[in-house]
Amino acid sequence: MGTEAAAMAKEAENANEIIHYFAQEWAPGVVIHMQTMYMTWITMAIVFLLFFIASRNPKLVPSGLQNGMEFFIDFLNGLMEETLGMKGRKYMAPFMITLFMFIFIGNELGMLPQIGVHWTSPTNDINTVFALSLMVAFGGYAVGVHQQGIGHFKHFISPKPGFLPIHLLDAITKPLTMALRLFGNILAGEILLIVLYQLTPWVIPELWVMFSLFIGFLQAFIFTMLALSSFAIAFHDEH
């Protein structure tokens, strides 16, 4: 089975696909996309360094990088306070800020010029986006149970038990759509960029890069907002 999967991955790679994940089988059945791994680690390093440098010797009057990172934190804090409340913000801030910054930086990574390194976005891999969206979905349940006990799941039958199918459908489609929206946008953006470079080497691809950088931010924002709405119910006090 494992070798079969690896073979399938290999086959797909060879089938003239534009995007290469460099699948590698580490153990029987354990196939890992190395390109995605490398780009994820680079993204992690960038996000970590940005925050780490900004948080060294923080000043009451911020400047430079500290100012920039505080802008993102402030922006996300505002969103969190609106949807999760003060308590929810304190609880969720590390997760949500990391989520946004990881997706944001990850999205932009694939738009870097292909010099020396083959840059791709870690979010162009279906595994990454589902990892994130499933974490958000199950994280929402976990936090809900932690905050409200098992009664958290009562929201599945509110306002009437008859709504259960709709809630179940929502619970399944939400992570699905979140993941696929991000995956589709980023992957399509990279594929289109490659195609554009082959069609017109000048100007047009650069314009697309500019637009894609904006899309990268927008998709990170959308994903974060949807994640917030998933967590919101966990902090929704029902009296």
């Binding site: 995007i19 992690m44 970590f48 925050f51 934190i73 590390p94 990881f102 279906i126 595994n127 990892a131």
Partner: protein, 160 residues
């Protein structure tokens, strides 16, 4: 292009590691400084408000004090003016009285002198007239009756 595999689990781990590291090393100091700043700004604003209120009350106090001082000064000036006026009046009155007294004394002295002079003149005139009369009648007139008669004549003349 769409292969689900162990990458998914690896990505979950990667992300959780990143969350853990950032929460531990980066977010705490940043969040703390942001909270500190928020508190400091709120505190400074409150302090500024207090200072403003204080300044206003002090200003009002000073204005009241100034008005009181002005009133007091006016009272002092009025008082001084009144005292001066009183002194002025008194000096005038005293001077007038003294002046009157001097004039009166002088008049009395003059009257006395005049009286003395008159009585002296009278005695001389009596003697003189007697001498003259005796020369005229060739006899010595010196009796008391003669003197009395001469005195009467002199008195009548002096009275004219």
């Amino acid at each position: 292009m769409v292969n689900f595999n162990a990458t998914l689990i690896a990505q979950v781990l990667n992300f959780l590691i990143l969350v853990f590291i950032l929460a531990k090393f980066a977010y705490k100091p940043l969040m703390k400084i942001m909270d500190d700043r928020k508190n400091k700004i709120a505190g400074d604003l409150a302090a500024a408000e207090t200072a403003k209120t204080d300044a206003e009350s002090i200003k009002a106090e000073y204005a009241a004090k100034l008005a009181a001082a002005r009133q007091e000064a006016q009272a002092i000036i009025d008082n001084a003016r009144k005292t001066a006026q009183t002194a002025h009046d008194k000096i005038l009155a005293d001077t007038k009285a003294e002046q009157d007294q001097i004039v009166k004394t002088a008049k009395e002295a003059i009257a006395l002198e005049k009286k003395q002079a008159l009585s002296e003149i009278r005695a001389h005139v009596i003697n003189l007239s007697l001498v003259a009369a005796s020369k005229i009648v060739e006899q010595k007139l010196g009796s008391e009756e003669d003197k009395k008669l001469a005195g009467d004549i002199v008195d009548a003349v002096l009275k004219q």
